[in-house]
Symmetry: C2
């Protein structure tokens, strides 16, 4: 309570000295990206919604990174091929380009590298890169789109994932109420939301949750000051580095649109913002927030919901005579 | 071959007498419907894409009636809850409102009645109408959409399915090349396509495949002159009427966008138009088409692909505190 008041006093003092609010803020507004190659974005959108990139012909990127629901599936972990239970919660694709790396354990440096993963993961789309290329090459209608995007109609996995990445780069959610406030609209936040933001800052959340993405810029141990209890077996960065000290180290999630991206954490174990904030306070900061404080911070977090991307649902070209006939129930390959 | 020439001669004679081509044609152009209640259509679109209407929180109407791919899933039969294999091929939702009835066996009179089916079918979305109403009612953001559409925010299964039906009514695909030809643009079809159309008419296909939907207006025995071989166990209209003579009687499929709606027939057993036309000729008309004739009719059928609906992908409101936490892998209820 004291800290909150102190933060408000500080903010008031800054305003009194005529300092613009945004100059001192650890969070930046997020802005739409400039589209340099609209044909590449259009192709990427088609491929993002393309179920034929999966073994079954049923699962697309959008199945688990659903643009109707904050770029996630709102499930604890995702449903994959043959109803497989994924190992980890699907992070949102919204605003994802600006992160330090991709995946919870950061094992992909770029969006294109990330996009290649689920296509070939047996628990996700369960295809292979060879099959993905074969399928897309076999669909006559894609030729003109590759040509427009790349200059010729050659299909390879790099082009497929580059196109997806270019589309994903456009999935930015500007104009959140918090961004309006950052830009000087003092009425954009309620008193409670502002109180929540000040507490968010003063208690140290912005050490990790900062920048335009409000996170996604560093790896942190989940359970910094107190162990985080979970039945999920993901090892975090250790799976990439092999180093034992990286166990339970995960990329700090972005908090933009966090209102939409429940359930929370890498294990998807928590469904409400209040509970997520309480656990973060406890295991990362060693702080037990009061109920009112949890409500205040949660109210602030909901001001990070921005304009969702306007997507014209793509029309995909029909399969050709050489396209495989998908059979979701085919016996598993050995 | 003789019949084809006769049909062309007849058509030529008609043109010579100055009769407009369309006056004599058994197929009518399809036209967009007038939207009377845009708010109802918008709500219906949201619900059509709403995965929370399923038990798992993963499957929406659009999963199997994918508007990116001709309103179907391009699978033999559909994937349902827990990767269940559906009993029958998913018919397209495009242009579906103008049919005599819904489902292959016609068991639903209206689109709204149809929409209620998959929600509660254990092999499809596997929810219940009670659960669907509970879920939608629990999502705070839906209130304003129901209010705009219906005057107040009450949610019931009739309203849910009425809204879906109203959206589906707008899924019309006008401006097919064949429609342009019907409307007098003689250059809209190639010589081969026109030859295919004339053969389609002269050999009797238009007895069933006629009107604006090019089908969907009657029930016919699959295997009228020769038994149709299938491993699919669907009984057709018999399952509705109980009468043995209705076994293997199915609603004649619409042929609009048939280029996109493979695989074909109620059992989804056939992947190419040529093969589908050959089988239809054989089992319905007792006619063995030559290879060239199959190519001609198939070329004509591809002129029935119209403008696909332009859909702005919906943004769905987030779950509320009372919304069930979906668990796709929950033990099955007894």
């Amino acid at each position: 309570m004291k800290k909150t008041l102190a933060a408000i006093a500080l903010a008031s003092a800054m305003m009194a000295f005529g300092l613009p609010a945004q100059a001192a803020e650890p969070i930046d507004p997020i802005e739409p990206v400039e589209v340099k190659n609209p044909a590449l974005v259009e192709l990427g959108k088609m491929l993002f919604f393309e179920p034929r990139l999966s073994r079954s012909g049923f699962i697309s990127c959008n199945s688990c990174h659903n643009l109707a629901t904050g770029g996630v599936d709102n499930l604890v972990t995702s449903i994959g091929d043959r109803w497989a239970q994924g190992p980890i919660n699907s992070p949102t694709v919204l605003n994802s380009f600006g992160q330090i790396a991709q995946f919870w354990d950061g094992r992909a440096k770029t969006l294109a590298e990330q996009a290649a993963g689920p296509i070939a993961n047996p628990l996700e789309m369960a295809s292979t890169h060879e099959m993905a290329v074969k399928v897309i090459s076999s669909i006559p209608g894609y030729g003109e789109y590759f040509k427009k995007a790349f200059g010729d109609s050659k299909v390879d996995i790099q082009r497929i994932t580059d196109a997806m990445a270019e589309f994903e780069r456009t999935l930015v959610t500007p104009n959140a109420r918090f961004d309006k406030w950052l830009k000087g609209d003092k009425d954009a936040l309620t008193a409670q939301e502002l109180k929540g933001y000040n507490l968010f800052k003063s208690s140290g959340c912005t050490i990790c949750h900062n920048g335009a993405q409000v996170g996604g810029q560093s790896f942190q141990k989940m359970g910094l000051v107190r162990p985080y209890q979970t039945t999920n077996t993901a090892e975090g960065v250790k799976a990439v580095s092999g180093r034992d000290q990286d166990r339970m180290s995960f990329k700090t999630p972005m908090l933009r649109n966090v209102e939409l991206t429940y359930p929370y954490f890498h294990d998807g174990a928590v469904w409400t913002l209040e509970e997520a904030v309480a656990i973060m306070g406890d295991v990362q900061l060693g702080r037990r927030y009061m109920k009112e404080e949890l409500a205040d911070i949660s109210a602030f977090l909901k001001t990070l919901t921005g304009d969702q991307p306007k997507i014209e649902y793509p029309v995909l070209p029909p399969s050709g005579p050489e396209t495989p006939k998908f059979n979701p129930w085919a016996p598993a390959a050995k």
